[in-house]
């Protein structure tokens, strides 16, 4: 009987809780923006961070020497001024005066130099910075506020590179002797120089509360607090926004976007981002080890052109993305550098099934009794795979398979576990057609590197296996070309090569979809990474 009493007590407690008045956090802390997102940072240690949520936090808590602006150019952040030597081998940065760490200590050039040298000398430990410090020789202090970075060779995207080097508080990082020790340090109580500082971080409840940094060198943020809460499914996240449990949804699924637009007091935002989705055509050289396993017809330029002609990209955008994106053409998204790097001259192939049929007829592919074309005993019968964790690709694969059927090509869509797909694509080279996507850096260098021969090794980023010595040479050249206009010319030429050879048929550039309670907050600014870029959050304020 006692037990039953206990159970009843528990039940009554639960019921009584329903009637509990809602203790709104806004009453006690004015101007707290409550953010809902679907992930949680794996670490706040910039040495070894993999998840994009970690980088969101880095931008809020730390600062970099320079930062990207809305138009794609770079401005000083910690740096007040900067210059490069004539030969491009020495960069000099002068720090702004009066920058303070969150603990009140002043930032010195010596501390910045310690950071850069640690990245260079202990690159096994500072794994995530590695790509940004290749070609750095060393950093040195000139005076209290001035430092120099010496380079092995001129680096064309130096400003972009330093915009990803987060400057950490040296005392927190000095003691680690091995790369493992450094990497296992999660630094959930970081000291930075950024516009917000961590008040509470609970990795179990997955809640992060940040306070505005009153001493921030660029002025105090208009918000008092940022509260991040993790949701494990997007339906709950959207519901939370609808009922006002959160003020900002950092990710809105495509399928929910139209519905979110109709919510009262909510503004939904779709802005051009930096990601793309593409159809990968197996382009691995025949002499690769292991030998590619594929339908050899996929390497025939006529077949590639026919496939490109038979894909209606506008339809894909309208149906798969429900209009939240634009058709793709180049591997460089149009947003990079404010459009500077995107080759505007590329004329995409026009969708025309009759023309696609004609191309295949001319190339000698003849329809068999089942409607599938064939030449010299090789049937145009391809696997069309996509990672199973995507909600957009199944639909896209079906649509593409239907168009291809019209031109006598059989494509069999199948969802594959992403881990298996990675290995099938590189290094096994065992695929015909794969739909996948990328999130690009603001600088074109990374997306261009995906097409280089040297990236087609185990652990490399090439998936198409595209190999073109001229392209590889141009890639190395653009990395060292300091003049922006000259570099642009090379970058455009590279895009054209990829477009014509078709290791990728770029399908679309999707928008970043976010939403916020416009009945409570205003002042968001649209950055390519979203309206929650730190510069935007600095500007957000409550509605009167």
């Amino acid at each position: 009987m006692k037990k039953i009493g206990l159970i009843l007590l528990a039940f009554v407690l639960l019921l009584s809780a329903c009637g509990e008045p809602d203790a709104s956090p806004q009453q006690s802390q004015p101007a707290a923006l409550r953010v809902g997102w679907l992930g949680f940072p794996d670490t706040l240690n910039p040495a070894y961070a993999f998840l994009s949520e970690s980088y969101t936090m880095f931008d809020l808590v730390y600062s970099t020497l320079m930062t990207e602006q809305l138009d794609g150019s770079y401005a000083g952040l910690l740096a007040e001024s900067w210059s490069e030597s004539e030969d491009g081998l020495v960069w000099t940065f002068t720090l702004r005066p009066n920058i303070k760490w969150h603990n009140g200590e002043p930032l010195t050039a010596e501390q910045v130099v310690w950071n850069i040298n640690a990245f260079i000398q202990n690159s096994d430990g500072w794994v995530t910075n590695y790509g940004y410090i290749i070609g750095f020789v060393e950093a040195r202090v000139l005076d209290e506020r001035t430092l120099q970075i010496e380079l092995e060779y001129p680096i064309s995207n130096m400003e972009f590179r330093v915009s990803f080097l987060y400057i950490v508080y040296p005392k927190d990082f000095e003691g680690f002797t091995t790369p493992e020790d450094l990497q296992n340090f999660t630094n959930f109580n970081p000291i930075g120089t950024g516009p917000f500082k961590i008040n509470t971080l609970d990795k179990d409840q997955r809640v992060i509360i940040l306070d505005a940094n009153p001493d921030y060198f660029d002025g105090r943020a208009k918000l008092g607090q940022l509260v991040y809460r993790t949701f494990d499914n997007s339906d709950a996240l959207i519901q939370a926004l609808r009922v006002g449990d959160i003020d900002f949804a950092a990710e809105v699924p495509t399928s929910a976007f139209e519905a979110v637009k109709t919510f009262e007091g909510v503004t939904a935002v779709a802005l051009p981002g930096r990601s793309l989705s593409e159809l990968i055509l197996n382009s691995v050289p025949e002499d690769h080890d292991p030998v590619p396993t594929r339908n050899p017809a996929i390497t025939d330029p006529a077949v590639r052109l026919a496939i490109a002609t038979a894909i209606n990209k506008q339809d894909l955008v309208d149906v798969v993305l429900q209009g939240q994106g634009i058709p793709g053409v180049s591997i460089i998204p149009p947003t990079l550098g404010g459009g500077f790097w995107f080759n505007r001259n590329l004329q995409d192939v026009r969708f025309d099934l009759a023309e696609a049929n004609r191309i295949l007829d001319e190339a000698g592919y003849v329809r068999g009794v089942d409607g599938v074309r064939e030449k010299d005993g090789i049937r145009l019968d391809f696997r069309l795979q996509f990672p199973s964790d995507s909600s957009n690709y199944p639909r896209a694969a079906d649509m593409i398979a239907n168009w291809l059927k019209e031109i006598g090509i059989k494509a069999t869509p199948s969802a594959v576990d992403p881990d298996s797909l990675v290995v099938a694509v590189n290094p096994n080279a065992d695929y015909d057609l794969v739909i996948w996507g990328w999130g690009s850096d603001p600088d074109p260098d990374f997306m261009l590197s995906v097409m280089t021969s040297e990236q087609y090794v185990e652990g490399g980023w090439s998936d198409s296996g595209y190999s073109n010595p001229v392209y590889d040479e141009l890639f190395a050249q653009q990395q060292r070309t300091l003049d922006d206009a000259a570099r642009q010319k090379i970058v455009w030429e590279m895009q054209e090569m990829v477009f014509n050879d078709r290791p990728y048929i770029v399908l679309w550039y999707d928008d970043v979809l976010q939403a916020y309670r416009s009945d409570r907050f205003a002042g968001f600014i649209q950055y390519p990474t979203g309206i929650d870029a730190f510069q935007s959050l600095m500007n957000v304020e409550p509605v009167k």
Binding site: I4, V207, D232, A240, V243
Partner: protein, 325 residues
């Protein structure tokens, strides 16, 4: 055989089972296709091929699975160490312990309520057989049992947050994070209502159906007729004579469920962003985080085996026939 010997044998056998499960798990995760390093870092453009090789060495993956990785892992286990999670970079044992409490809270509350109302409903339905009450309870239970967890959770979430103003997820509100749970009971209770209700409804049906058929069987026994003939009230017959015998199948099913609800809570925890083991298992699997996977599955195996042992032990008390054998 004495009860002590019986239990000792059961215990040793359980230990052996756990060991076999661990060895099988070790093999199982490693035959999965894919590359753990790639899974952990995702499609992170910041990690070069050289860096991936150094991570692979750090995880011990460059050595052959057998014998090197296998014996290294065995040695670790023998020292009572479950290793460090690759994706979360914390000791596996710490991670598991921090999530276990939350999951037990949810499962415990949900199961207690489901058992209580399920048994009660089954009892009345069986007693009032072929009445409207019986038909109603039966329909409700069948529907509840057949409802997909995820769907029910989302429906309750939408309804509860829209109409009752209940929270949309988490265990406590952000402003109460980090405080000991007992200091924020009302807030905790508000957050527990919907997930608990989901779990209660889902399991209630099963318990009700089993209780109903079990009580029907018992009520047809001769000794019940005797009790009625002695002039006892319906209530007394039901409570004092029928219930205890009818509870036997429930004990079995509850014990079995307790083991499996740990994994069954995955859906509920995902819908309500509830920080428990379920979500952790999912992360471990998608990231191919071997140390975390091994730890998580060890915990699962242990909970199923312990629950089964508990049922065996309870049986020796509830049912004299088990002892006699």
């Amino acid at each position: 055989m004495s009860r002590r010997n019986y239990l000792l044998r059961k215990f040793l056998f359980s230990l052996l089972t756990i060991f076999v499960v661990m060895v099988i798990n070790f093999m199982l995760f490693r035959v999965l296709p894919g590359d753990p390093v790639r899974s952990v870092i995702g499609r992170n453009v910041r990690i070069s091929a050289e860096m991936q090789a150094s991570l692979r060495a750090q995880f011990g993956l460059e050595k052959p699975v057998f014998p090197d990785q296998f014996f290294a892992t065995l040695q670790q286990w023998a020292g009572g160490n479950l290793g460090v999670s690759w994706s979360l970079r914390q000791p596996v044992a710490d991670i598991l312990m921090s999530k276990l409490g939350n999951t037990l809270l949810l499962i415990g509350l949900g199961q207690i309520l489901a058992i209580f109302f399920g048994v009660l409903l089954g009892l009345f339905a069986g007693w009032k057989r072929k009445t409207a009450l019986d038909a109603g309870a039966l329909t409700f239970s069948l529907v509840a049992w057949a409802t997909p967890t995820f769907w029910l959770g989302i429906i309750l979430l939408a309804a509860g947050s829209s109409w009752l103003g209940l929270p949309t997820g988490g265990i406590v509100s952000p402003e109460n994070v980090g405080k000991p749970l007992y200091t924020v009971l009302p807030d905790l209770a508000r957050h527990l209502v919907l997930p608990t209700l989901t779990m209660t409804i889902l399991y209630l049906g099963e318990y009700m159906l089993i209780m109903r058929s079990s009580i029907l069987e018992v009520l047809s026994e001769d000794y019940i007729l005797t009790a009625k003939a002695k002039g006892m009230s319906h209530w007394q017959v039901l409570w004092k004579h029928a219930l205890k015998n009818a509870m036997l199948p429930i004990v079995t099913i509850v014990a079995l469920n307790l083991g499996f609800t740990v994994s069954g809570a995955i859906y509920i925890e995902t819908v309500f962003s509830y920080d428990g083991l379920g979500k952790l298992f999912q992360t471990a699997l998608t990231k191919q985080d071997y140390p975390l996977l091994q730890g998580a599955f060890l915990l699962l195996a242990v909970s199923v085996i312990v629950a089964n042992m508990l049922a065996d032990v309870l049986y020796t008390f509830l049912d004299p026939r088990v002892k006699a054998n």
